[in-house]
Symmetry: C2
Subunit: 242 residues, 2 copies
């Protein structure tokens, strides 16, 4: 996160780094309670206020979650308030319906130039590819193709994804210990090809939203590259600009 000039780094940022290291090392698992501010202050030999400021930033970046009276928790995708945290699609009607994920295929392959660039792998390194559909109110609205580094996710298979309870990121988190921190999306308008048109039940050539996403875990490491085709007849991609 921090690309500091090397000359100076305030204490609270150093504490922040130490906390991120601890998170990365798995000292506290997703969903777990971390030590209180006072305990951490003692451990790092700084005042509570300094720990507080470090935690403030981590909470702002959604790495931690503060809950007054209870404590500070490691953020997780397995939480109602963060279930589809990266999904910006909302119905035009305004009535929010839960999404349902329908996995279609899952296979191994070697990284092509595109996937290699997105995932910072070498061409030819193993990857896992997943195809799935997102349904809203029983209608297919999103066709996703997901590329993951094969090394880390070697054990991934279709069966795992059948548990409709879990979101995809919850699965990666609980089964493979990989937590996505942030993501970047590139959105364009494209014409539906034959296959996508069939999946989404529209005419070939219909305009679709192409949403390319790269998700990053700790240390800005890309861990997922995905391309989604969104049907925006009854839904739209909502974005708040600060």
């Amino acid at each position: 996160m921090s690309s500091e000039s090397p000359t100076y780094s305030p204490l609270y940022r150093q504490i922040k780094s130490l906390l991120v290291q601890a998170l990365e090392a798995g000292e506290w698992r997703p969903g777990e309670l971390i030590p209180s501010e006072m305990e951490l202050a003692t451990r790092f030999n700084v005042s509570q206020g300094t720990v507080r400021k470090a935690i403030d930033e981590l909470a702002a970046e959604n790495l931690l979650l503060r809950r007054q009276g209870k404590g500070t928790f490691v953020a997780t995708h397995n939480d109602p308030r963060a279930f589809f945290r990266f999904l910006r699609l909302v119905p035009l009607s305004g009535i929010i319906e839960p999404a349902r994920s329908v996995p279609l295929e899952c296979w191994r392959a070697k990284a092509g130039p595109e996937a290699a660039r997105a995932l910072e792998l070498k061409v030819g390194e193993p990857i896992v590819i997943v195809r799935r559909v997102l349904e809203f109110a029983g209608k297919a609205v999103v066709a996703d193709e997901i590329y993951l580094p094969g090394e880390t996710f070697a054990g991934l298979n279709l069966e795992m994804m059948k548990d409709a309870q879990d979101s995809f990121y919850t699965l990666l988190e609980s089964r493979f210990g990989v937590r996505m921190i942030r993501a970047v999306e590139r959105v364009r308008a494209v014409a539906a090809d034959r296959a996508s048109a069939e999946i989404l039940h529209v005419a070939e050539g219909s305009p679709l939203l192409s949403v390319e996403r790269i998700s990053y875990t700790y240390g800005d490491k890309p861990m997922e590259w995905r391309r989604g085709l969104y049907l925006t007849q009854d839904h739209c991609y909502l974005n708040e600009l600060g």
Copy 2:
């Protein structure tokens, strides 16, 4: 901004409200330096730390801009680092070229149901409509249609917009004293109609990004409704997900 439960509001939020009120009242104009934290602390009879926390939040919301060693300034769209703050379009090549705005038309009308809803006006109230094109590297990439409340922007005309130096929001700020704080965009994929296709030099029916934006000024008051059609052959809509 804050939808507090009425039971309790911390002091620093009250200070924040007072600061917003002062901004809204125009006590300090966009770009101007506001009093130092110490002065404000004296004025409001609180400690510097409390003022600091209020300013922290306003800076995070881009209402104020802190500059170490100089002071705190009222944010403005007339600033290199915030010139096209709401424009998410970037070239696929990665090479950033400055956008050029080409105003086409500007006329008065009465609000239809759609515009009235977006701008929170009554149907039939006066509005101003602007059509313009954004060019990157001499090529038309965005066709915008902009709807503004007619009351506030009665004096707006094409001539004003010919100064290519100013961004559109800079103009609204300097000439009409209206500063846009935040915006919400709804993105969809659509097929180019005849008129848009001509402006963007593509075939009718080509897929385009439809970007609908409502911009808000102080007090969450909608002050602009705009619909842009983006050509995403050489550009994409970039979005960072926290």
